[in-house]
Assembly symmetry: C2
Homo-oligomer: 163 residues x 2
DNA sequence: CTGACTGCAAACCCTTTGCAGACCG
DNA sequence: CGGTCTGCAAAGGGTTTGCAGTCAG
């Protein structure tokens, strides 16, 4: 990993370094290696895995630097978090086919229905990854309630625990 | 909430109680109320929210009972967890349109591409929930590697932290 | 009645934060 | 050189577990 064999990954790395520098953020050795790792990986490994992957090249790197670097990317709009973010675990007891709307600000998840979306044609590549138990659409956006709040508070320091 | 006004919710509650009883699991007051709450809610509230919602009817219920009840539903195949499960937070630094395959056993997330899926027609109901920043397909299944392991180990006690 | 279940509290683990020294620009 | 960044360690918050009393069947 991190060898930059794929021109696609190299292009993404360029975009990241350019954006980071033009944001007036320092491009440290640690950050560069973490960037390399995350663009080289089509899976989206959890933080611990990224940490272990860069360790050989950054023997003294700490886990919190990995977290901080990933959130930095997030704050610059260069990365998103996967799944309903933070707060707590969520369960879905709705067994019938349905889809999810996820608010990226408050983590709200709402079901919506759409028969045409219930039978999506998946590319053959998917079956090579594994079996398919379910396929649904996940829409990300800002819910009406949060949109209202944004208008009011205009802007505030994003203190990490509330993207 | 929990008033069973919707016949749909009532039907789902019936299915849950039936399945739970036929599994030889005791149907306690606490469990029943938690079931009521989760089928009555089209959003998928986090555990804390469910806890607060049932508290008026179950003044002494504890948070861990809510957790245990939700995992019970999960183990009986009556509920799924939302998003890439447990382990750690995951970030996605891929800015181009793509979709996700999530392994329900190991939490692996892999990107896949499919131009037809990049421009899905969303129902009008979605825009009433909030703005749309992104819409992608999330496929859930068991990845090839986990499928191999399952064949080997046949079955083992699901100790919670490894669904 | 009896085994399963709940509530409590402590343990666990992932994530974040405060601070002093290190380093980029 | 100065302000930012890192590493360390400790705090923080969500989730799970062990145990003794309680309750459904």
């Amino acid at each position: 990993m991190g060898k930059m064999r794929h021109p696609e990954a190299e292009r993404r790395l360029d975009h990241i370094t350019t954006t980071v520098k033009s944001a007036g953020v320092k491009l440290t050795h640690q950050r560069l290696e973490i960037f390399r790792e995350i663009v080289a990986n089509e899976a989206h490994p959890d933080v611990e895995t990224i940490f272990r992957a860069v360790r050989p090249r950054l023997p003294t790197v700490s886990l919190d630097t990995v977290y901080r670097t990933l959130w930095l990317l997030h704050d610059l709009g260069l990365a998103t978090t996967l799944g309903p973010q933070r707060d707590g675990m969520r369960f879905d007891a709705n067994l019938s086919p349905h889809h999810h709307y996820v608010c990226v600000r408050c983590g709200l998840v709402r079901d919506f229905h759409s028969p045409p979306l219930n039978s999506l044609r998946l590319p053959e590549a998917v079956t090579r990854i594994g079996s398919v138990v379910d396929a649904h659409v996940e829409v990300r956006g800002v819910c009406a309630q949060c949109a209202r709040k944004v208008q009011v508070s205009a802007q505030k320091k994003p203190t990490r625990r509330t993207p």
